[in-house]
C-alpha cells in the first residue's frame, strides 16, 4: 500500500513523507496505515535492487491557514471551487526512520549506503515482509538496529522499539525468551528508570 512520497530529509536516515491527499490519489491511506511504528519501504532508485526499510516514528499535521489572522476573501466551501490547491496544502507528514535495507531477500540492519530522493514513493510492509526483515540468514530472530536506535537521544525510541518487539513476538515463538529479555530491559529503561 503506497502511503505517500518523500518530501524532505532531516538526515541520511530520517525522512519526511507527505501522506497522499484528496487530489493526489483515489485510494487514500487510512490513518492506521501510517500509524506510529508502521514499517515502510522506499526504493532509492527505480532500477536499484536495494529497498530501504524504515519505520514511522512521528506524525506531523500541516495547516498553513492555522494562525493566519488575515482577511478571508472566500469561505472554505468556495475555496474548494476557486482554489483547490490551496486546500491541498493542509495534510499529514510522517517522519520515517530508516532501519536498514533489503537486497535480494537478505535483510541488512545498518545505515544503508544509498539515500532516497525527493518524490520517492513510500509503501507499507506487510507482516510477512516484516518477519523476513527480522530474520538472519539462518532464519533466527534479528533486531540489529536495536542498539543504534537506543543510542539516539529521542524520547520516543524506547516506545517505538517496545511496539516493534511486541509486534514481532508472535512471529518468532522459538525466540520468545530472547525477545522477552530485550523487552524487559527496554521496559525497565523506558518506564521504571525515568519514574524513579
Amino acid at each position: 500500500m503506497l502511503i505517500g512520497t518523500i518530501v524532505k530529509s532531516n538526515s541520511h536516515i530520517s525522512y519526511l513523507c507527505r501522506v497522499y491527499g484528496k487530489l493526489e490519489k483515489d485510494d487514500l491511506p487510512r490513518p492506521d496505515q501510517y500509524a506510529f511504528g508502521t514499517f515502510v519501504t522506499l526504493r532509492p532508485d527505480e532500477d536499484s535492487p536495494v529497498r530501504l526499510v524504515g519505520v514511522v516514528r512521528d506524525t506531523l499535521l500541516l495547516n498553513p491557514d492555522y494562525g493566519s489572522l488575515g482577511p478571508r476573501l472566500s469561505s472554505t466551501r468556495d475555496l474548494e471551487v476557486l482554489s483547490p490547491d490551496y486546500l491541498n496544502e493542509t495534510g499529514v507528514v510522517v517522519d520515517i526512520l530508516v532501519l536498514g535495507s533489503v537486497e535480494g531477500g537478505a535483510a541488512r540492519h545498518a545505515v544503508p549506503a544509498l539515500a532516497a530522493g525527493i518524490g520517492t514513493p513510500v509503501e507499507t510492509v506487510d507482516d510477512e515482509g516484516i518477519t523476513a526483515f527480522h530474520q538472519d540468514a539462518r532464519g533466527r530472530f534479528l533486531i540489529g538496529y536495536y542498539p543504534q536506535l537506543l543510542a539516539r537521544p529521542d524520547p520516543v525510541v524506547a516506545s517505538l522499539l517496545l511496539s516493534i518487539l511486541e509486534r514481532l513476538e508472535p512471529a518468532f515463538p522459538g525466540q520468545r525468551r530472547v525477545i522477552n529479555v530485550l523487552k524487559n530491559n527496554l521496559a525497565w529503561k523506558a518506564r521504571v528508570l525515568p519514574a524513579g
Binding site: 533466527r140 534479528l142 536495536y146 525466540q175 525468551r177 530472547v178 529479555v181 530485550l182 530491559n185
Partner: protein, 552 residues
Amino acid sequence: MEYTKVGTAKGPGDHAHEFLLITPDDDGNCKIGEFVFYTLDAGDSRRNVLGRITRRSPVRLFPDSFMASPEVTPAEVAAAIGYVDDEDELFEVAVTVMGHYDPRLSAFVNPRVLPRSGSPVYLAPSEMLSEVLSKRTVAQRGSAYVGWLLSRGQEDVPVALDVNEFTSTHLSIIAGTGSGKSYLAGVTVEELMKPYNKGCVLIADPHGEYDTLVEMPNKPEFVENGYRPRVKIFRPDQVKVKMSNLGLADLRHLLTTLGERMDWILTEAFNRVQNKMGSAYDGSWTLADLIREVEEVGQEQIDKGADYSSSVYGLVWRLKQRFEHSKSFDDNEHLDLNALFQPGQCTVLQLNEIDQRDQEVIVATLLRRLLYARMGTQKGEIPETDERYIPYPVFVLLEEAHHFAPASGDAVSTPILKQVLSEGRKFGVGVGLISQRPGKLDGDVLSQCMTHFIMRIVNPIDQNSIASAVESVGRDLLDELPALSKGQVVIAGASLNTPVIAQTRTRLTKHGGLSIDAAEEWGRYFADRERRERDSAVVDIRTRRNQLYRDE
C-alpha cells in the same frame, strides 16, 4: 618451533617488572600462575623472556541486563541484536617478568625490558618449562620429584626439587587440615629414600601416621643395585630419653608450677650433678643422683638456719612423681643417635600416646643431641666408635611443628629449633616443619625455612602469617591459597628456580593419614552388634528350649 599465541602485549603494568596483555583467552590458557613468554632481540639471537600470570580482569563483558533470564544466554541476546562472534569476552592479564633462563647461572636473568606494545605473547611450551622451572631433573641424584605443574597436563612439566637446598636450608609444609600435607610429606620422604638419594631421614610423628612407609623396602621403585631403604619405626614405648640428656630448661618445663625456692634448689642441684658427672652428653647421672643433690642442697640450707625442708620435700615429690614411672624418661636407656640416623634409613618416632610436654622435651633433647653430635663429628671431637659419631647430613621432619615452636614461645623446644634452623646448614642438619596452623607457629622459625610447600589455607590469620614470614611467595600466589584443592600446592623458595603451583604426585606407599569414614565405621559396628545380638538370641532359645512348652 611453532608457539601458541595467547595475546598481545598492551603496555607496562603496575610495577617495573610487570606488563599487561590483552587476550580473548578462548582456550583458557591465561590462568593465574601460568607461564607465558615474549621474545627480545639479543644481538644475533632472540631471547625468550618468561613471565608468570599474576592477575586477570575482564575488560569486555556482556551487560548485566543480558543475563536477566537464566534460560537465555547473553550470547543469544547479543546475537539477536546483531553481535555474532565467538570471542565475546576480552581480558586484561598482568604478567610478572621472571626473565630469560641463563643455563650458565642456572637462574633467570631479568632483561629489564618489557615487550613492545602490540607484540605477541606466547604460551610457554611444556618442554621449555621442564628445562627451566626445576633445578633438577626427575630421578637425577639430588632431585625430589614431588608433582607436576598444575596448569599443564599430568606429568607434562614435572617439578623436581633440589634436595641439597631443602635438606640444608630447611623446608616448611603449611596446609589446612585435610588438604594433603602429610601426603605431600610422605611423597617428599619417598623421594629422599629413592636409590638416587639414599637419604638419612627422621620423622617425629605425633599422630602415628607415617608407619605405612615400611612398605618402601618392598617396592621396586626403591630398590636398585643392592640398595634397599630401611624403615625403622619406634613405637611410643620405645622412645626413651636419658635423664642425663635433659637440660635445666627441660626439667623446668616438665616440672610445672615450681615455686621460686624450689626452682633455686633445682638449679643448684642440677649444676652440681652436671659438674660431678661431666657434660650432659657424656655423663650419665640418674634421677637418684639428682634427688640426692636436691636433698644435700636442702640440708646445707637447713644447716645455715633456713627452713627449706618443705621445698625440698615438694621438689623431691615432684621429681619422683614426674620421672620415677615415666615411660619416656629413663636413667640408662636412650635412643642411640647412630641407630636413628643412617644413610638409606628412614626412622619414624611415633610420639602418639605421649604427653604433649614430654613430646616437646623429647624433640628438644633429640635436636640438641643431634646438632652437637654433628658439630662434634665435623670438628673431629667425637671418635668413630661413639654413638654420636654422625659423619653425614641428616634431615628431620617435624609434624605438628606449631607444638614444638609455638608463636606464644612457651615450648621448651623452640630455642633449640631456632638454633638448628640458623646453624644447621653449616653442620648438615636440615629440618622440615609441617603445620596446619602457621598463625600459631613462631614467625622466626617459619621465616628460617627457605623452601615452602603451601597448600590450601582459608584462615586469614594463617594467610597473613605466611605473607609476613615467607618472602619468596608473591601476593598473587597467596591469593590462590583458599582456592587450592586437595593435593595442590604452591612450592616456592630455594629448591626451585621460581615459585610454581603444582599437583602432588601419587604416593608409592599407602597414605597413613586418611580421614576416618565415620558412616562406614558406624555401619560396620552396627552390623557387628546386630550379628552378636542375633547369635546370643540363638543361644537364649537353645538354653530355654526345654522351658518353652512348660511356660505356656
